[in-house]
Amino acid sequence: MNALDEKLNRFTKYKISEQTLRKFIDYLKQQAPVFAPHHNGEASYSYECVENSAEVVLSYPRTMQPLKKYFLPPREVLLNFNIKDNTFSKPEIIEETRIFFAVHSYEMASLKRLDYSFTQGHVESNYVSRRKYAIFVGISYTPDESHFSKSVGIDVEETEGFDLFLLPVGDGYFLLEITDTGKRLVEGFPGLAAPDTTEIKTEPLQFKSKIKYHHNRLPAVFDHVYKSKVWDKYAEICVGCGTCNLLCSTCYCFDIRDEVDLDAEHGTRTRYWDGCMLNTFAEVAGGENFRGSLARRTRHRLYRKFKYITAKSEMLHCVGCGRCSHFCPVGISMTDIVNDLITDYEEKQNKEKI
């Protein structure tokens, strides 16, 4: 038995049919609001609050916005203010239990990164309040042409952070109890038979997208490619739309703007997702732009994923969800850039040896 299977087999588990699983969602809905993947248009998926358990999509490549939208909303009112009498109030954030259902492992891993970003240095109450009572039910998935989470060290069946985890078997699922919270939820649900004792045997999943090096070696690569030509190569076709930033599950940069109501008295201070690929991101008074070129912006983006925060947090800040690659309108793939950088690095190393 491989190490992964060994780990999975330690959890108590239940065999559950898809039909029962949807009943389980209904049961969860009675406990707390449930959020799960849904169809969004013809070819897209998004997390939505579950109204009808039949509409939950269990098998999907990835949602468009990552789960971060529930903890760092795309637009969030930070303050309501009154200009005339200089007063303000902070909108109340209800600290409630929310259940996130059918979440992939890289997504869970990304929350761990966000947790770091919002709690190191100053601990942000907005984020923490939303995050505090969240419960997660994971599910495994079949990698598509953009996923590469294995290359950054995250297995499809990685259960860390989840309270429950779903593994497809035959025409149903294994429901794994990961934490006590998960156990309590399962115990309250009357639709399950006794724990199942058959052994889990996972099939190694094939990722079509891969990084050439083991992830442990990536920080070393990034020590040497700051001046690489690879940046220019991608800058030529990158159009600076910022899609890769906005949809990245670990990107969290934001902008803050004041907007006033038509009475010219009340207003809101709101934050919005922002991204370092956008031209204006590092522009200051007088029009000076500290990262005007797309090459420098692309480099900054990748260094933020693979080096800068990594050095401090000891976690790669790319989780291999493949959103940046899949949604890039010009088809720039994260693994292509990294692999090109590795090639460049190897060439440099070889030259140095000679």
Partner: protein, 279 residues
């Protein structure tokens, strides 16, 4: 999460403070004296900044230009360049503004005890450095020589004329000023600030150089300091970047792996020397 939640802060809520004095310095710069609620001291370090906010006009990081040795009120020097700063220039004494902070890494003046202090300020860069200059003047005996080099584009842009007059008269301060472009009345130095550095006679090992100015200035000043053989460990810079939150979240002020609002604005030069995007 639960244990971290205990330390959670409402990071974006300002305190409503009062402008207690306004002084026009130049056509585009004014100095504001700010008093916190209950006249409490801000407890800042020289070189730190606050996020000033006016509802409807946004927020902007502004350096504290007075020394913590004077207080409890503190001073801000603001150049009108945009939404918030233009509006601030319209405010009179008695008006209220929001303050968050103090934020960022400031100077630790105790570390400079007994050293000669060389201040190199370009344009509005004098404002942040003034907090440290005032500190050293208030604890004059703790420091060796005090040399202030100050350059502006033209005589009309000179900040703090009153203080400058005093500094010029004080014998324990070496104050030299230059302008890029003179007018009819100007009788002093003409030329960029780097022209003031070579003539200086310094005990380089014992001199702490602090540099603040517009982005273009740093590269040339650092070259001149190198020419003087001032060791890198003796050099401090204060850097400016676009900044939104002031608390290390929004990402705007990042220079390579460092956040100006957390690790800066005051940097020990050896720390940023390797950073391509810094100067």
């Amino acid at each position: 999460m639960e244990n971290l939640a205990q330390h959670a802060e409402d990071l974006y809520c300002p305190e409503i403070a009062t402008i207690t004095r306004v002084e026009t310095l130049t056509a585009s710069e004014k100095r504001f004296e700010i008093t916190m609620p209950g006249n409490r001291p801000l407890n800042h370090k020289p070189g730190q900044f606050v996020e000033v906010s006016i509802f409807g006009f946004g927020e902007a990081p502004i350096s504290i230009c007075s020394s913590p040795t004077r207080g409890p009120s503190f001073d801000l020097t603001v150049r009108a360049t945009g939404r918030l700063t233009d509006k601030m220039h319209l405010l009179e004494a008695g008006s209220q503004i929001g303050i968050r902070g103090p934020f960022g890494n400031g100077f630790d003046p105790q570390d400079f005890k007994g050293r000669d202090m060389l201040f190199i300020c370009g344009g509005i860069g004098l404002a942040p450095l003034k907090s440290l200059i005032d500190y050293t003047l208030d604890r004059r005996n703790d420091f060796g020589r005090i040399i202030i080099l100050y350059g502006t584009k033209n005589p009309a842009e000179i900040l703090f004329p009153e203080e400058i007059e005093k500094w010029q008269q004080q014998t324990d301060i070496e104050f030299v000023m230059t302008v890029d472009q003179a007018d009819e009345q100007w009788q002093g130095h003409v030329g960029v600030i780097t022209t003031l550095i070579p003539p200086l006679e310094l005990d380089v090992k014992n001199t702490i150089a602090t540099v603040v100015g517009p982005p273009v200035m740093y590269k040339f000043v650092l070259m001149s300091l190198k020419g003087k053989r001032i060791p890198d460990e003796n050099i401090y810079l204060s850097l400016e970047r676009r900044m939104k939150c002031g608390v290390g979240k929004c990402g705007h002020c990042q220079i390579n792996d460092t956040y100006v609002c957390q690790d800066g604005p005051v940097y020990h030069y050896p720390h940023v020397k390797q950073l391509e995007e810094a100067v």
